[in-house]
């Protein structure tokens, strides 16, 4: 058993202090990073609660229910910011990346404390796969929001539809890495491929459907 709240406090305190000494985009990034770590802790609480209620077991809960909870929790701050402050597109994607990175960082910290960090290869694979997966899923969601806003079709079904897309992507990753062998390798490659695809869409193709 690990004390996740204590770990969060330990990591968050220097970041909170740094908020007093930085301004503008950097401050927003750090704040969103902290928010990402916070929602990761809440998502862990909810998943733990669902594990107890459904009796599915830790493994099945993390494979089947956690993607739903985690993506929903990551969406909340992003949606709040989008609806309340109507930020510029660049700011929204930056916040999405920060929330995803904060979420993945805290999750990795807890995982390493639980499972150990002896194998550098495995730690690197985990960092790359989980880190990229959490960033990719929320970044794709923010891009979807921007596209929906540009096309003037930003609505409740559009938000839920985008969220469901992020959930199924996350669920597929969790399912693939849950079993050893080829499926795990494919699972680890999935976020990297998605990240490469997003990068291609976002940068190389003139922002694709995001262009004015």
């Amino acid at each position: 058993m690990i004390y996740a709240e204590n770990i969060l406090l330990c990591i968050a305190v220097p970041l909170v202090i740094s908020l007093f000494f930085v301004r503008g985009e950097v401050r927003r990034y750090v704040a969103a990073f902290l928010l990402g770590m916070g929602v990761c802790l809440i998502a862990a609480y909810i998943s733990g609660f669902l594990n107890l209620v459904t009796g599915m077991g830790e493994n099945d809960t993390s494979i089947f229910l956690s993607p739903v909870v985690e993506e929903l929790m990551k969406l909340m701050p992003l949606l709040f910011f989008l609806v309340m402050f109507a930020p510029e597109d660049r700011t929204l994607t930056m916040l999405a990346v920060a929330i995803g990175a904060g979420f993945a960082t805290f999750e990795n910290c807890c995982y390493i404390l639980t499972a150990g960090a002896e194998s550098l290869t495995y730690v690197l694979i985990r960092g790359l796969a989980v880190g990229v997966m959490h960033i990719v899923s929320i970044l794709a969601l923010s891009i979807w929001f921007i596209a929906a806003k540009r096309l003037k079709v930003f609505s409740f079904p559009a938000v839920v539809g985008g969220l469901a897309l992020a959930m199924i992507f996350h669920a597929l990753y969790n399912l693939l890495v849950s079993e050893p062998g080829a499926s795990r390798v494919i699972g680890y490659l999935l976020p990297l491929l998605a990240a490469a695809g997003l990068y291609w869409l976002f940068r190389e193709k003139g922002r694709f459907f995001l262009s004015e």
């Binding site: 459904t54 599915m56 099945d60 089947f64 229910l65 993607p67 739903v68 979807w144 596209a147 096309l151 003037k152 079709v153 609505s155 079904p157 559009a158 839920v160 539809g161 985008g162 969220l163 469901a164 897309l165 959930m167 199924i168 992507f169 669920a171 597929l172 399912l175 693939l176 849950s178 079993e179 499926s183 193709k205 694709f208 459907f209």
Partner: protein, 258 residues
Amino acid sequence: MNAEVVFNLFFTAILLLVFLGALRLLESGKREARTVFFAFAVASVLLSNLYWLAYDILRPGTRMPFAANEIGEWALFLLLGAALHTQSEVPSAKREVFCAALFTAANVALWIAWSGEWIQDVLTGAAFGYFLCSLVAQIKLAEVFPAWEWRLFGISCPVLVAMQTAIFFIPEPVKQPLDLFCYCLLFTVAAVLLIRAFQTLRSSGQPSSAVLEAFAAFAWASITQYMSSGWFYIAALVLSTLCFPLMLLALRKEVAAG
């Protein structure tokens, strides 16, 4: 590898091609809301299919504790519904929308009776209902179906629901012919809608009509899929998958027409 896995591999390949086609359509420069929604909807159903395949290969013969692949189906219906909803201001098809909502509710009740999964069936029903209501409103507004076809739907849908409900209560010897009648009705309507959408696509008529007819064929194929089992389910899956290239071609025609 069982037959369902082989079929699903084939469908996944088709969906991948449709997704790439949708991306090419977006790349062409004309960014219609419908096309963007369609591309995202195909991506979600593609991931849903991949999830199902991965599960069936990794854990064969076991039941999912929580069917996460259905989330992809919710995304599909919500995104397709939202794509249709963008075109209308205030739908003036209250009667048709009400009937569509009622038909969806009846379907959800049947799904629950068959599977016993309350939460997932209600959520799938809500997403599908939104799609169906948006579609029906658009079809009515665009006057794609003549009055007699509306009446035909008005008769076939309640008959279908009544027959499926009756199957729960009637004695065993009568069940099979009634079940067969339901399948005949479902597949006949699905085939008619599919052929009709294909013909409209080939004709030089309204491109929007072709899109709505292709979406209607998909909606009915989905209903057929959810009401079928065994080989009938695979046949419905074939029809449903065929609708994706059809929807893409119809959208391409609409985009080309400007």
